[in-house]
Symmetry: C2
């Protein structure tokens, strides 16, 4: 059963196989053992894999339930046995990505005192890395946020975490005298994290005024540093 409301478990298997579609129905004759249970799980990840593959060429709105079903080798009504809606599929994909991102987030900003610039750099690099590795899903996330309350909540959660971590780090830097006082740390964090999100998004879609992906770090890092420390070369 899939429940869309909360974080639910997603198959650990990497969906990237992108093996081809429409073949899950291979008969293979009853031969062999363990044909029974697995089939369901396989179908489920086939749907997820199809979704991720299709997202690389079209937007979520342009992908129909039928596309997903056919891609996984089942009929449209069967799709509903696995997911309550196509939105739930995208949500599952995003959920998985978010979980990955949360892992990377941990303890990145703990030893700032040693070399602030380097640590902040790593933190930004990590974020860019996670989302860059699944850009299609990242973009889908940003897009269905506008339509799905669940997606909005999920995304908010991630942003909130980053903002909290960033704000805590800024406060720590201020406490040890490395950063000057200024606007509330949390407000600063909100603005900087938002900037990253938007710039990253633009960079992925390649829309009008955007930064080249390779230059993201060298442009954004100095802005973070000067906003936080008042200089791009914090000691």
């Amino acid at each position: 059963m899939i429940s869309v409301g909360g974080a639910f478990i997603v198959p650990l298997m990497s969906p990237q196989g992108s093996g081809a579609a429409a073949d899950a129905a291979a008969p293979a004759a009853g031969r062999g053992r363990r044909a029974p249970r697995v089939s369901g799980e396989e179908r489920e990840s086939a749907i997820l894999a199809t979704a991720e593959r299709l997202l690389e060429e079209r937007s979520p709105q342009q992908i129909s339930v039928d596309d997903l079903a056919r891609g996984a080798g089942i009929s449209r009504p069967s799709f509903y046995f696995y997911f309550p809606s196509k939105e739930a599929v995208f949500l599952a994909l995003i959920d998985r990505l978010v979980a990955q991102a949360d892992e990377g987030r941990e303890q990145l900003l703990e030893h700032l005192a040693e070399d602030p610039a380097a640590r902040w750099r790593e933190a930004l690099e990590t974020i860019f890395g996670v989302f860059g590795a699944h850009r299609a899903v990242s973009l889908a996330g940003a897009e269905i946020r506008a339509v799905s309350p669940e997606a909005r909540a999920l995304w908010s959660g991630v942003m909130e975490q980053w903002v909290a971590d960033t704000a805590a780090a800024i406060e720590a830097e201020r406490a040890r005298g490395a950063a000057p006082a200024g606007v509330p740390a949390r407000d600063l964090a909100v603005a900087l994290v938002s900037m990253n999100e938007r710039v990253l998004y633009a960079s992925f879609t390649g829309e009008a005024p955007a930064l080249a992906e390779e230059r993201l770090l060298e442009v954004l890092l100095p802005i973070w540093l000067s906003a936080i420390y008042g200089t791009t070369e914090p000691g």
Copy 2:
């Protein structure tokens, strides 16, 4: 068919056209062509008004052609006499807003030398003001960008303008020695303008990590200043 109307015509302008025409500037004029049945014009603006009103309570996707038609007192097929699609209606609304914004943009950053902080402050204030005055339309714009290539092009045009203006101002400040060299001015401008857009959007929707609207300026301005001048108190 029919082009979208005499007033804010939303031309199927080719993409990349610096923000679009919207030469609706002359309300009294427009007498040039055949006498336009007033009734028709009224209907057209009734549709636009309905759209703007409905946008204050629902997202563009949740507004159907039927809603717009009924709101303007006509049937659904009649709607198509005035606009080719509901998307075109929203586009017309955005186009109008963009035109207003373009006006405000002019010559804001010309006398930076006199009092940089104050001038930048005014520039940001102006932008926030224009979009804040029609937040429903602003939000709709951000949302249909994901779906409509025209909307994307339109928005890109606006962003491009601001980025260009901002970049030029930064370069001017660097030239007169008021701002230190650093990452390319344009890149800096892209990041800062993007930050504004995203933070403004979050603030309007009230989504998770957002800044209160009244605090936008006091948070964003210091970030702009320190990113550009390396200090929040440029001389």
